[in-house]
Symmetry: C2
Subunit: 148 residues, 2 copies
């Protein structure tokens, strides 16, 4: 059981942008700093844009930035958006291919477990994840934040 690379990169891109509020980061910069594929990150950015998490500011001094404050973006919301497949086992699919499906309680138990998982992530925001600020900015090669 693991999250997709797509979700992983989505969370990392959002964290980068939360740590870099000026909004001048490019896909290339983010890919370089994390040492991940620029092409993968491009797709991730497009889909996070479509989902309303980020936007691209064009022109001189432009770049990627969050559309909402980090404290208002929960990790549960991101994971629900980026993780396409929450079918835990065969009976979660449309096909309902298991003969036990009508009477079985496995689906209910797994559904409850998944709700507990996502419910935990709903309690964390992007602001929480990036609360350590300075060492994270340093690791990403970002300038120190301006005094708030």
């Amino acid at each position: 059981m693991r999250l997709t690379l797509y979700t992983d990169l989505s969370l990392r891109l959002l964290m980068f942008l939360a740590l870099d509020p000026p909004g001048q980061a490019t896909i290339q910069t983010v890919a370089d700093r994390y040492r991940v594929s620029r092409n993968h990150l491009m797709k991730v950015a497009q889909q996070l844009g479509q989902a309303g998490f980020i936007e691209t500011v064009r022109g001189r001094g432009g770049g990627l930035r969050l559309r909402r404050p980090p404290a208002e973006i929960t990790i549960g919301e991101v994971v629900r958006t980026t993780e396409e497949d929450f079918r835990m086992v065969a009976c979660f699919g449309d096909e309902a291919s298991c003969v036990l499906t009508p009477a079985c309680r496995l689906r209910g138990a797994l559904g409850e477990a998944l709700a507990a998982y996502l419910g935990t992530l709903d309690r964390y925001t992007l602001a929480d994840l990036t609360a350590a600020g300075p060492p994270m900015r340093l690791a990403l090669g970002l300038p120190p934040a301006e005094a708030a």
Copy 2:
């Protein structure tokens, strides 16, 4: 995010055996009733045997059976055994390939969510999942249970 086919089949095999206490089921029978691959199920049975969940009784009247009562086998225990990879994102691996790892709180949040997921499954046993008995036996082509 989904469980592997291996975990799916493991849970279904264990449920079958919980519903069929005489212990005369063969891999072939279970594969036929669920309409799943006999080869996959064979591997699943071997590994559940190694993990101490089931045993094979050889000879006439023999077959697969649970080594412990269904009420003593939790779903959390099964999933922890069968699901090999709980690395949620890159930083869960040995490689720790993300530059943010030392300061980031994502790992902690995902670890807490995973604990909530497995903790929920710890509250369900094989006996709970198969409590509906008769319709499940019917669906699997098993004879009605003897009067307890």
